[in-house]
């Protein structure tokens, strides 16, 4: 036995006790966490699923659909163009879009869109029916200033609802602007950058839908999409 080996095998008694105790405690912690993880797993996944589904459903209130929206999804990836002028959606990363179906025909689509806000990216979801009319707009992620730009959030104002039922037909492109810019959308006092960015992003998304309407409505998602 070499000297080094000896030292490794016989650490001081107190240190051995300490290692043992800490090890036992860690084992207990692992047990507790494993138990908690598995006991809550089913409910956690169900909750997450339900939260996402609730958001999606509020995006399409007037559209009849008989499918589960989460099951009829497809990926829009800015790196691999799949639709004409995909850059109109402003995406920086691959995001999921959803199809609403009614009696085997596509009755609406939920498109992801992104734009630059005042403090960072604004990520949104836009519900559009088969005729290109907006059925709902929701924010997935925003970093706007609290009390100013962040008032776009639905729990702070009804501004997002002012997009409902609009389309490129009933609101021609020059009117897709804030009231102070000669358009039809309200701004907030002290915050014009955020609403202006969203109005423009939504108009571009509608243009994207108009360009790709036939392709989107003909999407058949029976086979799983990448």
């Amino acid at each position: 036995m070499s000297d080094t080996n000896n030292r490794v095998q016989n650490p001081p008694l107190a240190a051995r006790g300490a290692i043992l105790r800490l090890g036992l405690l860690a084992l207990g912690a692992v047990l507790l966490l494993t138990l908690a993880y598995h006991a809550t797993a089913a409910r956690r996944i169900a909750q997450q699923h339900q939260a996402m589904l609730a958001t999606l459903t509020t995006l399409l209130p007037p559209i009849p659909h008989d499918n589960v929206l989460l099951d009829a999804s497809f990926i829009i990836d800015p790196a691999t163009p799949r639709f004409a002028q995909q850059e109109l959606l402003g995406l920086s990363t691959a995001r999921t879009a959803y199809l609403a179906r009614s009696a085997d025909a596509v009755s609406g689509v939920i498109l992801p869109l992104e734009t630059a806000g005042y403090n960072g990216p604004l990520k949104l979801l836009l519900g559009i029916d088969a005729n290109g009319t907006i059925t709902g707009l929701r924010i997935l992620e925003q970093h706007e200033t609290a009390g100013l730009g962040a008032r776009i959030e639905l729990d702070q104002s009804n501004w997002l609802l002012s997009f409902d039922r609009r389309s490129l037909d009933n609101t021609p492109p020059p009117l897709w602007a804030l009231k102070q810019d000669g358009g039809e959308f309200d701004q907030f006092s002290g915050a014009t950058i955020t609403p202006r960015a969203i109005v423009n992003a939504v108009r571009k998304a509608l243009e994207f839908f108009a360009l790709n309407r036939t392709a989107l409505l003909a999407l058949n998602l029976e086979e799983p999409q990448a």
């Binding site: 105790r21 908690a36 997450q48 009390g147 962040a150 729990d155 702070q156």
Partner: protein, 230 residues
């Protein structure tokens, strides 16, 4: 019974000044609405109860060198459990708190209580003290959350039904346009917290004027410093 109540009340009063300053990070970050404040307060309370009980049970098993890592491990485990439970209860609530839910680990309030109290008292006593401390933390968080929500967004108790299913119609509008939007930002939180502390100090000092000889604070016994020898 009366003695217990008095003791609990006193320990609450004693800590109320300390509470906001030790739990500053979550206090400022999450207290922008009543619902977030209440949820984080309840999570902190449950972590505090669980970890205090455990640490108190094991208090004689750890040498001073082992204490800190052992406490961190216990507190982190209970925090993860609280996170799992909240996600199982309501995903929307867990999303709302975001990063600040796992950050309960770093709440010095809990570690401070573990080091200065739970490690020195029997389990039941530690539990009772943790309950008092946790409730006072919830109280401060909730008051600050309500103030910030009402002043910053003009509404109160928005989305309360996420936590309390029966609270569907609790939202009411205090102001048509927010009178003090700054309240929603961290700087506004600092300001309001300062007002709360000033308010509390005012009330603490008032009875002292009527009492002839206020008991002098024993130096060094306050739980401000929790870094003993480790």
């Amino acid at each position: 019974m009366t003695a217990t109540a008095t003791l609990n009340f006193n320990s609450c009063r004693d800590k109320l000044a300390l509470t906001p300053l030790l739990g500053l990070c979550p206090l400022l970050a999450v207290s922008n609405s009543a619902i977030s404040a209440l949820t984080l307060g309840l999570c902190t309370l449950s972590v505090l109860l669980g970890s205090s009980f455990c640490i108190s049970l094991l208090r004689n098993r750890f040498t001073p060198a082992l204490r800190l890592p052992a406490y961190m491990l216990i507190i982190a485990s209970f925090t993860s459990c609280a996170e799992f439970l909240l996600q199982a209860y309501s995903y929307a609530l867990a999303e709302r708190l975001g990063l600040f839910l796992p950050l309960i680990v770093s709440n010095c309030l809990i570690l401070g209580h573990a080091e200065s109290f739970a490690s020195k008292t029997p389990p039941l006593h530690a539990l009772r003290d943790a309950l008092g401390l946790g409730l006072s933390f919830i109280l401060v968080l909730l008051v600050l959350g309500m103030l910030r929500e009402a002043l910053g967004s003009g509404r109160l108790f928005t989305n309360m039904d996420l936590l309390l299913p029966f609270a569907t119609n609790w939202e009411f509008i205090c102001f048509n346009s927010p009178p003090f939007p700054l309240a929603l930002t961290p700087s506004g939180a600092f300001l309001l917290l300062a007002f709360l502390i000033a308010f509390k100090n005012y009330f603490d000092q008032r009875p002292a004027q009527h009492q002839p000889a206020p008991e002098p604070e024993p130096a060094g016994s306050k739980r401000v410093r929790v870094t003993g020898q480790v």
